[in-house]
Subunit: 472 residues, 2 copies
């Protein structure tokens, strides 16, 4: 398909829509939109848009999209730029729509337990505003301090609390979406239930900005849970650790807010980085379990029961964190994995596979085998309660970058084929984007892919909306 280019005439038309101070063609602004946080991007992988525009309303977005649609110009929505799959990269040039002027929390409506917001708000700001009224937005991606809520919608972001609180989609009660052809849709509302017609808003959640541009979001809020309790459980093998997870939930009647899994490699790296003197000897897998609620005594009982079950199920040691400082201490280990790995292994590829929970040990064993096959370390950690793992392939210092690019691709194929064979999928919360689409093309069942393409064509007949993502 031949796309048009952003001519002087189109730039003038865009300036008429958003105002001359909200359109940019400078190298600096375009360069800032050329990358995200995808770790596999090489220094030369820059995708420069031809222009960046910042609309301030659904109407302006609609006019931009009508213009782009009539001139066949690719349009790429961009939020906080924290994506890990290249979803916000203008891989075919064209126009980037920045959400920097769609950045207001419109309303924290405590009576209806909802927030109404524009897409360009940082997710943690929603939480801060909600907390003032005793409420919380419990969708909680790990990049919560810098990602934008619009990006969370686009990627159906998950995170470390999904085992209890689910992922972004659970909280989306309403959306205002501009279709690639310019129509403005209002879907849902401040409504906790709605079966009046098809589940349209869910179709946009997780569509990676390929079906429309979201201009307004209504999210359900929950009571803010002020109390927490946590524990760290050390295991001599992964299988024992993972088998204990469903038992803790079913036997204990406990739904933890987090069940994080850390392999020996990450555990040692993070503890080393922190000068943390936890036992290392014989530890192969670590679980970090946290419960939250409104009643500290009941949480303390829950975490004690969780610890008892994990011990009975074979944990070698349990550290209950019953004060804020001990809780911080064990969370530090989990939170510093990324930084610890980056310090010693700056070139890496981070993955986002999901398998059935009980298949985590098999996935871990398979990853060890892949590691041996290529002689390349793969650190492994993630969200055990969700079966969502983030294997991180680390370039050995002595390997050339050229060799790395080749080997990394081969390793990714091996990881994804392993995942597929375990009944899993290649992305749980980061998305397919541009990064994984070649793998997705092969691993997604052809009839599913065909249906996705039909839906895309129905909504975006000229394929102008974030092209080059998910599938071609």
């Amino acid at each position: 398909m031949g796309y048009g280019i952003v001519t002087e005439e189109i730039l003038t038309a865009l300036a008429d829509i958003v105002g001359p101070t909200h359109i940019w063609t400078t190298y600096e602004k375009r360069e800032a939109c050329s990358r995200d946080e995808t770790t596999t991007l090489r220094a030369d992988e820059r995708y420069l848009p031809e222009a960046v525009v910042a609309p301030a309303s659904a109407r302006e977005v609609s006019e931009i999209l009508r213009l782009a649609n009539s001139h066949l110009i690719p349009v790429t929505p961009r939020g906080g730029g924290t994506g890990l799959s290249g979803g916000a990269l203008p891989v075919l040039g064209g126009i980037v729509i920045s959400d920097e002027r769609l950045n207001r929390i419109i309303e924290i409506d405590a009576e209806n337990l909802v927030v109404v917001t524009e897409p360009g708000v940082i997710t943690s700001e929603i939480n801060a505003a909600a907390a003032e009224k005793g409420l919380a937005y419990t969708g909680y991606p790990m990049s919560v301090l810098s990602c934008h809520i619009g990006g969370n919608i686009a990627e159906n972001a998950g995170g470390g609390n999904a085992v209890k609180y689910g992922v972004t989609m659970r909280y989306v009660l309403g959306l205002e979406v501009v279709l690639p052809t310019g129509e403005i849709l209002t879907l849902g509302g401040k409504l906790m239930k709605d079966v009046s017609g098809y589940s349209l808003k869910e179709l946009f959640v997780g569509s990676e900005g390929t079906l429309g541009y979201v201009t307004k979001i209504i999210l359900r809020l929950q009571p803010l849970m002020k109390n927490r309790a946590a524990l760290l459980a050390l295991f001599a093998d992964t299988e024992t650790a993972i088998r204990a997870v469903p038992k803790m939930m079913a036997h204990g009647g406990i739904v933890p807010s987090s069940i994080e899994y850390i392999d020996a490699y990450c555990y040692r790296k993070a503890c080393g980085f922190l000068n943390e003197e936890l036992p290392m000897e014989g530890v192969e897998a670590v679980l970090l379990v946290e419960v939250d609620g409104s009643n500290q005594e009941s949480l303390d009982m829950d975490i004690e029961r969780a610890g008892e079950i994990l011990s009975a199920e074979g944990a070698a040691e349990i550290y209950v964190a019953d004060t804020r400082s001990t809780r911080e201490r064990i969370w530090s280990v989990r939170r510093n994995i990324d930084e610890a790995l980056r310090l010693t292994d700056p070139v890496q590829a981070d993955e986002d596979i999901v398998v059935p929970i009980a298949k985590i040990p098999e996935a871990a064993r398979g990853l060890r085998e892949i590691e041996k096959k290529y002689g390349v370390p793969i650190a492994n950690f993630g969200h055990a309660g969700d079966g969502n793992l983030h294997p991180t392939i680390l370039k050995p210092a002595e390997m050339t970058l050229e060799e790395w690019v080749r080997v990394e691709t081969e390793i990714e194929w091996d990881i994804f084929r392993l995942t597929d064979s375990l009944g899993g999928v290649i992305s749980g919360e980061h998305g397919i984007g541009s990064k994984r689409k070649r793998y997705f093309a092969e691993l997604c069942p052809p009839q599913n892919l065909a249906l996705m393409k039909k839906i895309k064509l129905t909504l975006d007949p000229n394929n102008i909306m974030n092209p080059g993502k998910i599938f071609d």
Copy 2:
């Protein structure tokens, strides 16, 4: 569009697919598929299918749909027949696909916290099977003892626990769906997170059987919560009652498993029916609040705190049910509303509106005005935590049936326009079906309806799949 009829030749072909003992053309079998539990159906509103077939596999369903598609025969899926919107009625004749042979729970997989089931299983049977392993399926429609899980998927069923546990969609991890054109799709899996491509499975949830036939379902299970505590709060006015709901949640940090609303009319009727001597004087609105969890002491504290907040917010009286028998007693009032109303007012129309929670008092006032305007009583109860109300229009004994049919339609229009003006929608959990499609055609924004129709056409180009539902 001209549909074909089920000829002898087609009957033979169907018998070849499902076997001669699993196809019926007898009046008895067809009649049994001609109605559901929609209360507004008149005695003469029977929709007889031409044939009923009971396939036993996705492959058989696929062959039936290919056959029907090539001969343009309408196909209507039927589950437990408990629907309240005429979704399972073969309004254009054709073939009814019964799920009576797709009735196995394939697996309770406690290690992965999921159930794999066919669509024809009664929802409560899933719960019974899960409970044996300390687990629960927490999607909980009020018809749980007779509805089929396939119907729950089709309608995205809600119920009385949605304020804490959400509606059916939250639990759907995987679906096997046969498209109207015969392709068999496998969507999702035993996966707690999945952002690999569009949210296809969500498109089928709540599509009322108009986009495909679901042959296999993977649902997430939760730890079984064995303990409960409840209270009944009596209020002198609706506004005070409803205002207290978000405060109880935000100030108390409590997410109740149920917050049911009962108006004075229903409260008196149900108490009268049960010979229950609760105070009546000056009561305009009643809230029933229940909390569940694994720890009885903590629940008792929660329910006490909920009671304190409700009192502080203006409840005239609070009855805490701290034993199983007192809890049963207050739940009886809620559960017997339907039966109490049917006893004295056998002809009725039950609605299913949703409004923002804080708009419930306005909705209640509006319903009182409509009641006065027509001189027809409207009982009102529902799920206060979800803003989901079930106004039930009761035919006065002296009104002729002819007059009733006319007045009922006018009242429904008034109720739906009121709902629309409050930012609500006309169905929260029962669906549009055949019952509400004329209202939906007018109240759904035209561009949303246009998109739904485009999606329908993409998946079902000959409109054979449950035609005459949601929209024409």
